[in-house]
Amino acid sequence: MIRVTREDFSVDEVVASIRSGGMGAIVTFLGTVRNSSQGRDVDRIEIQVYEEMAVKQLQAIREDAITNFGVEDVAIVHRYGSLGVSDNIMMIAVGASHRPEAFEACRYVLETIKEKVPLWKKEFTPEGDYWIEGEEYERTE
């Protein structure tokens, strides 16, 4: 399952989308909105996406993870739009015969998303609004 959506998702539904009898391990990662960043309070965030490209990139990352780590299946859901503190941002679920490859593939998927998939977070704080660009913060005037 690859999904880029404004809507919230059910953790159970994402896990169910990959669960199968050959799996002895399903590793999940759930990313959520933190209430602070760079010493500033965060009231909410917005996520912008280049959707057509993001879907293609996520499909390629999923296929790479299955091929390179020998896991059985991978689901990735990423939200965009306006999100409040503690809201779900994204989820990765990786199912494999055994846990080592499931953990490794989950980490690979997460780090590759952070490096390559065209999604950007904007944080709304009492001191102003900031686009996050890689490791940089760009204030919005």
């Binding site: 997460l110 999604l119 950007w120 919005t140």
Partner: protein, 79 residues
């Protein structure tokens, strides 16, 4: 030939638009277009610019075709 430009995140502030069409010479490459965009919009020179053609990351000297959609954006921050 005409190509379509798309901008994302803070680049929409720099350019004042999410996208526009641009006439470029036949035979233009991605690096030619990036140079043109850097000249067109103040502030681009100081930025790290990533780009994609028709939704795929490509190299610097890739030839462009009529109707191509080229996206320019800052380093990503999803996840």
């Amino acid at each position: 030939m005409k190509v379509r430009l798309k901008f994302f995140a803070s680049f929409r502030l720099l350019t004042g638009t999410a996208g526009t069409e641009l006439e470029v010479p036949q035979g233009s490459t991605t690096s030619d277009l990036l140079e043109l965009v850097r000249e067109m919009y103040d502030g681009f020179n100081e930025k790290t610019v990533l780009y994609a053609v028709n939704g795929e990351y490509v190299g610097e000297e890739v030839g462009l075709k009529e109707g191509d959609s080229i996206a320019f954006f800052p380093p990503v921050s999803g996840g």
